[in-house]
Amino acid sequence: MSEPLIRTVHMGKRYALPAGDLQALADVSVAIGEAEFIAIMGPSGSGKSTFMNVLGCLDVPSEGEYFLRGQSVRSMDVDQRAHLRNTLIGFVFQSYNLLPRLSAVENIGLPLVYAGVGVRERDRRSRELLAQVGLDRYAGFLPPQLSGGQQQRVAIARSLVNDATLLLADEPTGNLDSHSSDEILAIFERLNRERRLTIVLVTHEPDVAAHARRLIRFHDGRIVSDTPVDRAATIQRTVVA
């Protein structure tokens, strides 16, 4: 069997705090393959954000191992992890995190700046992606001039500009109305289907999680369930609730 995109082995993360250590993650062993679409749920403080940070190489595990494409992230230095984030991983945040003084196109091209891509090529690729998320007419707009849904679409375009294989989305629809939310999720589904992009999505909302095909639940830093999503059942439950 070939190595999956992501593999964690008894991975844990402990934070040293003045009030004593905090075990944010404990004994997490999971494998995620290419083109998977995973939703992560759990109460706040359950470790799902820490899990995402570690997957995104923004943080390193303090115990166990994390292999990304077979390479141990724990043994990498700061610059190597920056390189992975730059070339392999795309982030989508709840609060979009666009730089307010850069235009939509320039925001999308930001990762390419650190990949050493020239300004003209950057512009070309950014415009291409902007068109893919349906915002080709907004190229020169600054983020404050765009709606929340539009900003999040720019952020998605940014996460893809380096041909990332792994997209990590932390509550991407948390600040959006249901209509924009549906649009964003539709884009995710399309990217997952057409680009075979691996998507890991943290959410509080069951009907958002229902768009994924696999659901992992966290509690107290541990995985408590890891199941395929039964769309009908999830929707059913939402209706009942």
């Binding site: 995104g56 923004l58 982030f91 730089l99 850069l102 650190y114 990949a115 050493g116």
Partner: protein, 407 residues
């Protein structure tokens, strides 16, 4: 990260906070302007002192008629002539002496046609021009026969020539000094101001013998006020000074323990002391100005720290999309250097402009040299790098997760 990208990013950040950037630059601007102006003042002062020193003549000693006790009263030096032409002749025979010029000044009215001018008439010898390092613009120096025969000949300074003859060539014409006719045989080159701010060109030279016998009258006899002595080299100044002292002590019959009736002064030493004072002064001015540069640097550090804090989320995001710590460091450092460099350029303009204005208003000779511009640029870029480094490093060491979470 490519430098053009860094420049683009920094420029954008500076433009976003125009007011803040301007204020930060202001600190640098004032510092650089101060350094440039202060160095200019110092350079100007040094240049004018140097000019005065070289106008004084080189390797020169001055023997001045000394204080003489007359009836229990000390009379100030030079006021009663105690030196004689024979003293000058004796000094000329000493080893190491290159030239000797006995001289006595006297105020007199000089007249040419309808023009007259009050000036100082200096009786002296042909050596005077060599000692003072003072070339003739036209005509010739006194000849030995002029000296021997106490000829009525004169060499004019530029100011006197200007006032008597306008722009015309005075050589060959006859002027009157104290009602007696003198033939103008030479015109001195322009010399400028002396230490005391006196116009050195406002003078007429005549042979010392003529002055003694025909102009000044009997009260002077064959005395002279001053004997200028030039040594053959700077290393001979001190020995010649001692020899002159010994010779005159013997000639004037000064007993041991008795005050001499003459003074031997080393003017070159005096001039060198003045030059080194000016050097110290310009150094001091430069130092004081540099303090304002450092204050400007601290201003930059302050603003950069604020900027880093304000842009913590941006730093977090940049790291998330692949910026290495070195990229972040370079970005903030570039911003600091760019701000200080821009402030430096503006400061240079202001500094140079103010020097020009001050020169015009106060007839000073402030001098902006390439060296002082280079110093200002180097120092400001160094200050920018030095004071920008701490904030930039702080930014580059942010943890991306915490930076992204920062509100």
């Amino acid at each position: 990260m490519i430098y053009s990208e860094l420049l683009r990013e920094s420029w954008r950040a500076m433009r976003t906070n125009r007011m803040r950037t301007a204020l930060t630059m202001l600190g640098m601007l004032i510092g650089v302007a101060a350094v440039v102006a202060m160095l200019a003042v110092g350079n100007g002062a040094r240049a004018s002192v140097n000019a005065v020193i070289s106008s004084l003549g080189s390797n020169m000693l001055m023997v001045i008629s000394g204080a003489r006790t007359s009836g229990g009263l000390h009379v100030s030096s030079g006021s009663t002539p105690t030196l004689h032409l024979t003293d000058a002749d004796a000094i000329r025979g000493l080893p190491g002496v290159a030239a000797v010029a006995p001289s006595s000044p006297q105020a007199a009215q000089v007249v040419y046609g309808a023009n007259n001018w009050s000036t100082s008439v200096l009786g002296t010898s042909p050596d005077y021009l060599q000692i003072r390092d003072w070339p003739l613009a036209r005509g010739s120096n006194f000849s030995p026969s002029d000296m021997r025969g106490a000829a009525r000949v004169a060499i004019l300074g530029q100011t006197v020539a200007q006032n008597l003859f306008g722009g015309a060539d005075p050589v060959g014409h006859t002027i009157r000094i104290a009602r007696s006719p003198y033939q103008v045989i030479g015109l001195l080159a322009a010399k400028g101001q002396s230490f005391g701010g006196q116009d050195q060109d406002d003078t007429v030279l005549i042979p010392i013998t003529t002055a003694q016998r025909k102009l000044f009258g009997a009260q002077f006899g064959d005395t002279v006020r001053v004997i200028m002595v030039q040594a053959q080299g700077p290393e001979l100044l001190a020995p010649v000074q001692d020899e002159v002292d010994a010779l005159l002590t013997q000639r004037h019959h000064i007993a041991a323990g008795q005050d001499p009736d003459f003074n031997v002064r080393n003017l070159t030493e005096f001039a060198n002391a003045a030059a080194s004072t000016t050097r110290t002064m310009s150094l001091l001015l430069g130092l004081i100005a540099s303090i304002s540069l450092i204050v400007g640097g601290i201003g930059i550090m302050n603003i950069m720290l604020v900027s880093v804090t304000e842009r913590t989320r941006e730093v977090g995001l940049r790291m998330a999309v692949g910026a290495r710590p070195a990229d972040i460091l370079q970005q903030f450092l570039m911003e600091a250097v760019l701000v200080s460099f821009a402030g430096c350029l503006a400061g240079l303009l202001l500094g140079i402009a103010s020097v020009l204005v001050v020169n015009r208003l106060f007839t000073m000779h402030g001098l902006v040299t390439a060296g002082s511009v280079l110093i200002a640029v180097l120092v400001s870029v160094t200050v920018g790098t030095f004071f920008g480094f701490y904030p930039a490093r702080k930014a580059s060491r942010l943890e991306p997760i915490e930076a992204l979470r920062y509100q």
